[in-house]
Symmetry: C2
Subunit: 208 residues, 2 copies
DNA sequence: GCTCCATCTTGACGTTGGCAAGTTGGAAAC
DNA sequence: GTTTCCAACTTGCCAACGTCAAGATGGAGC
């Protein structure tokens, strides 16, 4: 950003494209994304991105990986907002939902098969990390341990928690629940999310 | 299908296009869908669909509405497969997941904002009906009643059930869990789904 | 001061969705 | 039985897209 915005031949085009892609996604949604628009916003020709990303999917994969890293951060932050240790798992889910609400297009991209390259190493690592925060919070709350690097589809109890949170987040993003644009709408949805998760925890396994 | 496949000027192009669209979605996924390919498969020119659907979104909306109607049927069938009345809610969820696994592209389409016209009456009705089966099964199991035509985002307990099922289904469709292509993979996932839902029910509210 | 090559540009190709204008042929009207 | 009409379909066009190939450019390193 700061170092010579107009060095013309150079400049940090790679990150500029990633930032442009995020802006396009935010403004126009996943299906409104075009590679050429990203190039325009970065101030380069339409063929320039090819020198930094193999193709459109390559750029989107980078954005998705970044999204998973931010999702992980959002989970951790919301978890650490909870003073009561019993609420740390709940908080993780709240952070998950809040990220989805605040970055709906990125969230949609991250979890949409075919739009990103799932064999990408950074993406896989970031995706796994986001899941690990979840499993860690579960382990701490219920006093159980799981093998490191456990597959996502192993334990029904962990899956129950993740599916609940992910289901709520996707329903919001997909517009199946109330409007998530205005600040009031967001606040309502977040309150509702907490109510749902608390309801689930109320009937959950005994807490150690 | 039967009546004069080649009347040339006529024929049931509307339904032919819908069937072609479903085939394209199945073969190429949501992002591989093109209106022109549908026209090709129906044996008409690329501009013919415009006389039956306003645009590509119009055709996809029809397909999505049909999908919701089939989802409703799948929920009911799986629910009625359960002899034990306590398992009728669980069965509804199983039917939901099975539909998603067997028609991943359609499922993705149905729940993707921006690809379909959400103001479409038939789509809204079909979507609502699919939710109603769910809420009905919940009511019967737990002996509570909800106002007819209740909004989706009203009751935390119902939402907890729906989000869990929808979350599991989307995670499967999005490829976050195991492979869902082979018959063995599908069977594994369905078994896992049942385990997750049973786990949730184990800790659910007291059954009347 | 020269050379090299990564970076960027220009231009092209094939494909898409959508619009406009022309064609066709069955059904309704006479 | 002929004519008229209009919904259904075709052809042709446009702008925009992603991607590829070939040429231009200019800073880094020698």
């Amino acid at each position: 950003m700061q170092p010579q915005e107009k060095s013309y031949h150079h400049g940090d085009l790679r990150t500029a494209l990633v930032e442009a892609a995020e802006a396009v996604l935010t403004e126009r949604g996943v299906e409104g994304f075009t590679l050429r628009e990203c190039a325009r916003r970065a101030g380069v020709s339409h063929a320039a991105p090819a020198h930094h990303f193999k193709d459109a999917k390559g750029l989107l994969t980078e954005v998705a990986a970044l999204g998973f890293e931010r999702l992980t951060e959002a989970e951790r932050n919301a978890r650490d907002d909870e003073s009561d240790p019993k609420n740390r798992l709940l908080g993780t889910g709240i952070g998950y939902v809040r990220f989805a609400i605040e970055h709906p297009a990125q969230f949609q991209l991250m979890f949409q098969k075919g739009l990103v390259d799932h064999s990408n190493a950074r993406l896989a690592a970031a995706s796994s990390a986001a899941f690990q925060v979840f499993i860690q919070a579960y382990s701490e709350l219920y006093g159980v341990t799981f093998p490191a690097g456990m597959h996502k589809d192993t334990d029904p109890s962990v899956m129950r928690e993740w599916a609940l949170v992910h289901g709520f987040a996707t329903l919001v993003v997909q517009g199946q629940l109330g409007p998530a644009q205005s600040a009031a709408g967001i606040a309502n949805l977040m309150k509702f999310a907490r109510a749902v998760f608390e309801d689930a925890q109320k009937y959950g396994p005994p807490i150690r």
